[in-house]
Symmetry: C2
Subunit: 403 residues, 2 copies
Amino acid sequence: MAQEPSIETDRAPAVGELTPPDRTLMGPGPSDVHPRVRRAMSTPLVGHLDPSFVEIMDDVQELLRYTFRTDNEWTIPVSGTGSAAMEAAIGNVVEPGDTMLVPTNGYFGGRMASMARRAGGEVVEVDAPWGEPLDPADVADALATHDPDVFGFVHAETSTGVRQPDVPELTAAAHDHDALVIADTVTSIGGVELRVDEWDIDVAYAGPQKCLSCPPGASPLTLSDEAMEKVLAREEDPRSWYLDLSLLEGYWGEERAYHHTAPITNVYAIREALRLVAEEGIEERWARHERLAGALKAGVEGMGLEMNAPDEFWLPSLNAVRVPDGVDDGEVCAELLERYDLEIASGLGDLDGDIFRIGCMGYSARPENVIYVVTALGDVLESLGATVDPGAGVTATRRALSE
Amino acid sequence: MAQEPSIETDRAPAVGELTPPDRTLMGPGPSDVHPRVRRAMSTPLVGHLDPSFVEIMDDVQELLRYTFRTDNEWTIPVSGTGSAAMEAAIGNVVEPGDTMLVPTNGYFGGRMASMARRAGGEVVEVDAPWGEPLDPADVADALATHDPDVFGFVHAETSTGVRQPDVPELTAAAHDHDALVIADTVTSIGGVELRVDEWDIDVAYAGPQKCLSCPPGASPLTLSDEAMEKVLAREEDPRSWYLDLSLLEGYWGEERAYHHTAPITNVYAIREALRLVAEEGIEERWARHERLAGALKAGVEGMGLEMNAPDEFWLPSLNAVRVPDGVDDGEVCAELLERYDLEIASGLGDLDGDIFRIGCMGYSARPENVIYVVTALGDVLESLGATVDPGAGVTATRRALSE
C-alpha cells in the first residue's frame, strides 16, 4: 500500500560528525591503515574510463603481480571486499556439475563449500581438525577418491591462526589429478611467504585489509592462463554478472570497455598500499612480519600463555593464543577495547572460547603495536585473575625486538 | 608447471606517487566528491564489529531511509558499486523459475535481464525506444500478457537521460498482477524526486557516485517487508553468497553477526555524503538539481543545441544533448578532457554517436561547474567547426542562474 513515510523518516536525521574512537587494530583485520594510504583515499576522483585511470589500473596490476609473485596476466583488484574476490574465484572457475574439494579445518573452508554449491558445484571434503593444517597424504587420498575438478585450500586460516605448509606438494597432487587449485591467501598476501607461480597455484584471492594495511573495498585476485581458459570456455554464464571475469576482462584487459564503475578511491588506496610493499621489498616484508610477530609470540609465551598452533605451522600474521583457565575471552576483548582502545578477537567455530586471535599485519606489525598488545593483554588478564606474569611477557618481547 | 616468476615480476615495480589530473566531473558519474566526504575517507579505521561501527551503521541506515523516503527496515549500503546493489536486488528477489519483466529502453534494462537470467529467472520485455520512457499502457499490457513475478524499471536512465514519469501508475499496475517492483534509482537518488514509500516501490537500488557525490564502493539498497519476506522464504539459496540478503541480515539486523568485512572507509564516506543530504534537506536538494541542471540546459539550448529528451521526461541529473551535425562526439569529449580537464561522455547503444551525456549531480551541481561546462563545450564545438553560438549559451546560463 502506497503511503507517506512516517514523521520520523520525513524529518532529516540529526547525525553528528564522524568521530570514531582511535583504535589500535591487532585483531584478524582490518589492520591499522598506513597514513599514506589514508591520504591517497582523500584524493579527488577521476572517471573510471579516464585515460589517467587506465594508467593507474596498469600500475595496480603490475604491483599485484609483484606481491603475488606471479606473471599471471589475469591479476586484478575485484570491486568488493575479500569475500567478493573469493566468490569471483569460485563462481567463475566452478561450473555447474563440477566437483570441488574443500578443507574442513577452519571457517573459510566452509565458506568455500557454500560458494561452490551456489555456483552449481558438488562439494567433497578433506578433513583436518580446526587448528591444524591439511596433511598432504589426506589431500592425495581425497583427490584419488573424488577426482575433483577444483581443489581449494586456505593458505593462512584466519579463524585458527594456522599456516598451511607443503603448498607445492598439495598443488602437485592436485595437478596429477587434473584439478585446478584455488588458494585463499587473504591473510598471507604481503605478510607471509607466498609464491603463486613457484608453488604452481592456479587461482589465488586475497583481502587488502590484512597484511597490505589497506581499507577493504578492492581485493586481489590472480588466475593462471589455464584457469582463465576454463573460465572463458564455460558453457553457461557465471551466476554473478557483477563478478563475471569474462566481462571484467573487457575492462581490465586490452579493450578497457565499461563494465561497472570501479571503486576508484579503493583502487587509489590499494595502489598506494602496494607501492609500500614494493618500496619495502616483498621478502623483507615477510621477514618483518616474522620478526615482529615473533616478538609478540615471545611476549605471550613469556607471560605464561600458550600458542594454539605448533611452531611449524604458526601463522605470523594471525596469532592464535590459548585462553587461560578461568578467564572469559569475550570479557578480555571487551576490556582491551574499553580500557586500551585495542582490538583483538575471540575464536570462531570449533575454537570458540578457546583462543584469542591477535593479528600482526602490515602497518600494525610495528614494535609500538607489539609492545602495546603484549602489555595490555598481560595487564587485563592479571586484573581478571588469570595466572600470568605480565612483566615476564614484556621482557620477552623487549628482548626479541632488540635481537 | 611450477616456475619462478620472470625477472620483471621479481623486481619491485618503480611506480610513482599518485598524481591523477584535477578533473571537473560532469559525465554520467562519478561526480565531483564533496571535500567533507574525501576527508571522511582519510579517517583511521575501526573494526567492522567494533561497537562504535555498529552506531555508524545505524546512522547510515537512518540517513538512507530519509534519502530514499522510506520507512523500510531493510535499508543498507551493499559492499560494492551500484551494480553490486543491483545484483543484490535481482539475485535475491528473483528465484529460479520466476519471471521478470524488464524494459528495453536503455542500457540498464539489458543489464537487469542478464542478472535475472543468471539468477535462474525467465525474462520478458516491455518495449520503448532508447530515449523514451515506458508507457504505462504498454506496461499494463505486458503485465497482463506475461503475468511476471517481478517487474523492473529504470527511474533515471543514465544511458539516455530519461526520467521515467508516472511511477505510481506503473507500481499500481504491477501490484494488480501481484508482481513486486524493483526500481533502478542509481542516477535519481539524492538528485531527482524519488519517493519509495509513497510511490509503492518494493525494492530500490542506487549508486553513491552520482547525485550523492560519494566515491563508489558502498551502494544503497532498500526492500519492503513484503519483498524481504519473499527473499527469506526462498526455497533455494541465492546464487551469490556475498550478496545473500538473508546472511547480510545477520550483520545489518539485530544480531550484528560477522558475514564479511564491511568496506569501512566507504561506509564512513556514504555516512558523510548522506549527512550532507540531510543538512541540505532532500526536497531542497531535488530543487537545486533542477535549478542548476536547468541553467545547464538553458545554456546548451541557448548555443543552438537540442536536448534529446522532451521536457516532460528530462532528467536533470543526466542531460542528453544531441550531437550537432558534422562533429565527432568522441573528439569533443577528448578535447574537453585534454584542454579543460573536463569530463562529459558520449552515448551508448542505440544512441551511440547521437548524444553527449552531461551530468549535473550532487557536488557537481554548482554554478561554477555549470558555467564551466557550458563555456567549454561551446568553445570546443566552435573550434571543431560546429554551428553553435557559444556566447548565447553562456548568456542563457547566466540568466537562468540569476533568476
